[in-house]
Structures are given as structure tokens and as C-alpha cells.
């Protein structure tokens, strides 16, 4: 069972990868360093990585992670300490990158009804978000099929390694 508990950080629609991980940091290859600049391209969130606590939850509107193909975007959010991203929808490459890294992402309309900083509990297997601050509950998607298998294996590479072993 996968349950995440943390504070909600809310973002708008169309947060692109340049906002999640500004282009000037592209030459970085150290993941901890990458985590320190997560979300720093969003106005008002330049110091996000200092304010976020381990386990916190990122909530966003539609098309989260649009823009470039940089996997840095997922890695940065992960290393900043965010436990799960829940958006109305994800840009295709961001979604794929997250699955391949075994990083949890879920789709839900909940962002419209949850307050900034609310305490949340997310049951990723049941597809349920509980707002502990207001007591409200919202449905979210769960992973299924191939994406679930890849995610369960811990990402694409461990998944492929297992497949290769099987022959």
C-alpha cells in the first residue's frame, strides 16, 4: 500500500519545464543540486526547495510539465522532497519520465477544492485524496497495466533488467 502524507503546494495550469527546472541549470548533473532549484522558475516560488518539507505534495492544474523533454524536471521535484505530484493532467513526456523513474504521479481535479498548505493524505492504490484540514475526500487516478508494472519494479531500467533475466 502506498500512502503519502504531507502539506499541499498548489500551482496553476500549464506549469512548464522551464518553470519547474529553469534552462540555465541544464548543465547540472548532480541530482541533489538539481533538487535545490526545483520550481524556482515559478514566480513567488524561487525558494521552493528551502520551504518544502520532505513528503509534501505538489498539486497542479492541467498540462503540468509541458515544454521540454528534460527529465531534470521530475528528478528536481523528487530530490526537493516532494512525495507525489497530483495534477488535472500531465504533459506527455513528463508523465512518461515519471513512470520511467518509478516516481508517483496521479491525476485529479482536486486542486480546485484543496487549500494552499492543507494537510493531505493520498492513498495511491485506492485512488483517494483526503484533505485532513477540511475532512473532504476526492478521487484520483491510480496507475494500471504496463505503467503500474514499471512503477512497481521501481522504474523502467529495473523493469527491463527483470525482463531480461526472465529471458
Amino acid at each position: 500500500m502506498t500512502v503519502f502524507k504531507g502539506r499541499a503546494w498548489k500551482f496553476d495550469d500549464n506549469i512548464d519545464t522551464d518553470q519547474i527546472y529553469p534552462g540555465k541549470y541544464l548543465p547540472l548533473t548532480d541530482k541533489e543540486e538539481m533538487g535545490k532549484v526545483a520550481m524556482s522558475g515559478v514566480e513567488g516560488f524561487e525558494d521552493f526547495s528551502q520551504r518544502v518539507s520532505k513528503g509534501d505534495i505538489l498539486l497542479a492544474g492541467g498540462n503540468f510539465g509541458c515544454g521540454s523533454s528534460r527529465e531534470h524536471a521530475v528528478v528536481a521535484i523528487q530530490y526537493a522532497g516532494v512525495s507525489v505530484v497530483i495534477a488535472k493532467s500531465f504533459a506527455r513526456i513528463f508523465y512518461r519520465n515519471a513512470v520511467n523513474l518509478g516516481y508517483p504521479i496521479l491525476e485529479s481535479e482536486a486542486v480546485d477544492h484543496i487549500g494552499q498548505n492543507d494537510e493531505l493524505e493520498v492513498d495511491a492504490d485506492a485512488g483517494l485524496i483526503r484533505d485532513l484540514t477540511t475532512g473532504e475526500e476526492f478521487p484520483c487516478t491510480t496507475l494500471s497495466g504496463l505503467e503500474l508494472e514499471i512503477s512497481k519494479a521501481g522504474g523502467l531500467i529495473p523493469y527491463l533488467n527483470k525482463e531480461l533475466e526472465k529471458g
Binding site: P27, T29, S68, S69, R92, N100, L160
Partner: protein, 417 residues
């Protein structure tokens, strides 16, 4: 039931007779490309996960340098060296700092064919749909997996059909069409979807115009855009690859989720205003807007046909005194052709800066960054906030509109110069 082009490509790559929308299939990868951005992470991850294991098929991997070049600081230089060393060790072909934008370099070097499945660390890989391949931007992990195993999974997308009729007005072309379509479809209109363009206007397009059109499908969140072959694409590919090249078409009864029709006869030059590529208006609505800098280039509009369109307007003229006009050919081959045709003379005489082939001012990292509050016209594909400098504003347009605006230091209708 017939199949769309993307279905045919995925069927072939996955070894199936037929595939249906929604199927998730493992496909053989024909080419996995990494760049100087993203590439170093790929190599580090590959080494971490697979150690010294040789790349499965070095011929099906390529490294292109197109973003930060030549290296501007030690970190970038080290990253490039890491890639050169990896190429030496593995036998993967590498196109070094002089060659230019990756997708165009791969195309010019005959490494792209119709029905190919190609992945790369750039979100605009899918412009290769212009020549009938399924190319898509991926992250580091996909690329590592493709290098190690030669396969990746894909979901067969639904396909939209956009039919385009009519003849362009003078000084109006592919970029104006695709901005017009983008306004209609929106930046998330094709999320997880494929699109095929067809109709007389598309039939008449050369490879460069098709590339411009397909490159902007990314801005609609499309997985891939495709255009069936015409004589010009077959001829181009035959020359680049040594041929023979098979035609590619959808079946007459292929399933489309939706069909839209466009007519280009009446569309004026189009401009995407800050800060979204679908924030598109007619150039007429922005006339006189002050511009500090103009960029002609990128994977979207960096071919010699694009440079010709700019040169036709700049010939014998001078850019506005306060104007910084930066022109970047997509590749070394484009640069050579532009020199042969005398386009460099025209640009330099007009007061432009012509830079080395690269992605240049498509994104931050190249000289030419905007000051806060500066405004640029760009032939690139994105105008997100901060894309080429915090506090800068970007208007997207065609090479003709960009060149005309450079002459007057303000947004200008290229039909009026």
C-alpha cells in the same frame, strides 16, 4: 479497418500486422539521439546502470551537439568531453560543435527514414514526422533503456486529421498556417494524440515548410504530427540516405477521432504574443509594437528556405539602428548553401549578426539573452516566460515577419515592406 500513418509505423516496429488505438507495445528503436543537453545525464545514468556493457547497436545511437556551442564555460566543456569520450568508447557516431541542430543533422546525414521509430532528448524530435518517421522527445531513462535494449514501449495514440486548402498570400507561409492552427487547437489540444495534415496546401509544401509545420505540433502537446509523402520528400530522402525510399500514406478507411479544415487563402501573417504559443493574433493587431531584438533560426525556421525568406526582405536594407538582429542557420550545410547564395552578404550588410549553426536563441544558454523588459521577435517555437531571459517578452512569427520587424524596430507586416 485501415490504419493511420502512426498505426502503420507502430505496427511495423512492434512486429504486428495491425495495431489498435490504446494498445501499448514494445517497439524496436531505429535511432536514439542525445544532445549536449540531456546527453551527459544519459551517459552518467547508463554507466551507473550498465557499467561498461557495450551499447546494443552503436549504429542506432547518435550524439548531436546543438545547444551550448562552442562550450562557454568549464561545466559545458566537461559535459561535451564526457560525450566525446563515450562516443570513442562505444563507437556511437557523434556530430560535434560545428554541425548544428540535431534533428536536421540526423536528417541531412541520412539517419532518418520513413517508418523509423526515433527517440531523442529534445521535445521537438517529432518534427521528423515531416519525413514519415515517428520521432518523439523522451527523457534520460528512456534513452538509456533504448541504448541498452534497443526497444521502448509506446501507446498507440488516437489520430486527428487537419485538412488544409488554399494558396498562401505573398509573404505568408507554413509558420503562419501552424500558428493559426495552434490558436484554434490550443496548447493542450492534442495531448497524447497524433495528427495528420493533408490537403492541396500541404501537398505543395517542400521539406522545409513541412518541418516548420510539424515542429509546432509539439506546442499543441501532440505526440506526433505526420504528413504523407510527396515527390519532394521522396527526392530529399533518396538523396540524403542513398535510397530507395518507400512512400507512406494512411489507408483510405483509417480511423480519425476528429477532422478539422483550414483555408489559408485569407490568413494574414500570424504572431504568437507573450507568453503562450497559442496566444496568436494577426500581425495587423500588433503593428508598431516596439522590438529590441529579432532572432531568425531554430529547428522550426532555420533551413535555407527560411533564411532566403528573411534575405528577400533584408536585401539592400538596413535594420533599425537600435535593433539586434541575430540569424542562425540550422546546420553547417545550411550555412554553406547560404554562403553560396550570397545570403550572408545580405545579412551582414543589413547589420545582422550571423552566428554558428545551433539552436541559438530558441532557449537560454546562447549569447543573446534578453534584458528584463526587453522584447524579441523570434522564429522559434516557444514564448514561455523566462525562456530566453527573465523578464523578457517573446513574440513568435515567420522569418518574413521577423525580418520586416527588424527593419523598423517594431512589429511590421511583411506584406507592406
Amino acid at each position: 479497418m485501415g490504419m493511420t500513418i502512426i498505426q502503420k509505423i507502430i505496427a511495423k516496429a512492434s512486429g504486428n500486422e495491425e495495431v489498435a488505438v490504446g494498445d501499448k507495445l514494445w517497439c524496436a528503436i531505429d535511432l536514439a539521439a542525445m544532445r549536449d543537453f540531456g546527453g551527459p545525464n544519459v551517459v552518467l545514468d547508463y554507466r551507473e546502470m550498465f557499467g561498461d556493457q557495450p551499447v546494443k547497436d552503436p549504429e542506432k545511437v547518435a550524439i548531436t551537439f546543438d545547444l551550448h556551442l562552442p562550450a562557454r564555460d568549464t561545466q559545458v566543456a566537461n559535459n561535451q568531453k564526457l560525450l566525446r569520450d563515450f562516443a570513442d568508447q562505444t563507437g556511437v557516431p557523434l556530430f560535434d560543435v560545428e554541425t548544428g541542430v540535431g534533428q536536421h543533422t540526423l536528417l541531412e546525414n541520412g539517419m532518418v527514414r520513413p517508418y523509423d521509430v526515433i527517440v531523442g532528448t529534445d521535445s521537438h524530435m517529432n518534427l521528423l514526422g515531416a519525413v514519415g518517421s515517428f520521432a518523439t522527445g523522451v527523457g534520460t531513462t528512456d534513452l538509456v533503456a533504448a541504448m541498452a535494449t534497443g526497444k521502448l514501449w509506446f501507446k498507440v495514440p488516437e489520430t486527428h486529421k487537419f485538412v488544409v486548402n488554399g494558396t498562401f498570400q505573398d509573404q505568408v507561409g507554413a509558420k503562419d498556417l501552424i500558428l493559426h492552427v495552434l490558436k484554434d487547437v490550443g496548447t493542450d489540444g492534442l495531448l497524447y494524440k497524433a495528427v495528420e495534415f493533408e490537403g492541396p496546401t500541404i501537398d505543395a509544401m517542400d521539406v522545409a515548410a513541412r518541418i516548420t509545420t510539424m515542429s509546432m505540433v509539439t506546442e499543441m502537446s501532440g505526440k506526433i504530427g505526420l504528413i504523407e509523402s510527396n515527390d519532394k520528400t521522396i527526392e530529399y530522402l533518396t538523396e540524403a540516405t542513398g535510397g530507395p525510399i518507400e512512400e507512406w500514406h494512411a489507408d483510405p478507411d483509417a480511423p480519425y477521432v476528429e477532422e478539422r479544415r483550414y483555408d489559408v487563402a485569407d490568413i494574414p501573417p500570424q504572431v504568437a504574443a507573450p507568453h503562450s504559443p497559442d496566444n496568436v493574433v494577426s500581425v495587423e493587431d500588433l503593428l508598431g509594437t516596439h522590438i529590441d531584438q529579432v532572432f531568425v533560426g531554430s529547428c522550426t525556421n532555420g533551413r535555407v528556405e527560411d533564411l532566403r525568406a528573411a534575405a528577400a526582405i533584408l536585401e539592400g536594407e538596413q535594420v533599425d539602428p537600435g535593433m539586434r538582429l541575430i540569424i542562425t542557420p540550422a546546420t553547417q550545410n545550411v550555412a554553406k548553401e547560404a554562403v553560396r547564395e550570397g545570403l550572408y552578404n545580405i545579412f551582414i550588410e543589413a547589420g545582422a549578426i550571423v552566428t554558428n549553426p545551433s539552436c541559438a536563441l530558441c532557449t537560454i544558454g546562447h549569447p543573446g539573452v534578453l534584458a528584463e523588459g526587453d522584447v524579441t521577435m523570434s522564429t522559434s517555437n516557444r514564448n514561455f516566460p523566462g525562456k530566453i531571459g527573465k523578464g523578457g517578452e517573446i513574440y513568435l512569427c515567420s522569418p518574413a515577419t521577423a525580418a520586416a520587424s527588424a527593419l523598423y524596430g517594431q512589429i511590421t507586416d511583411p506584406r507592406e515592406v
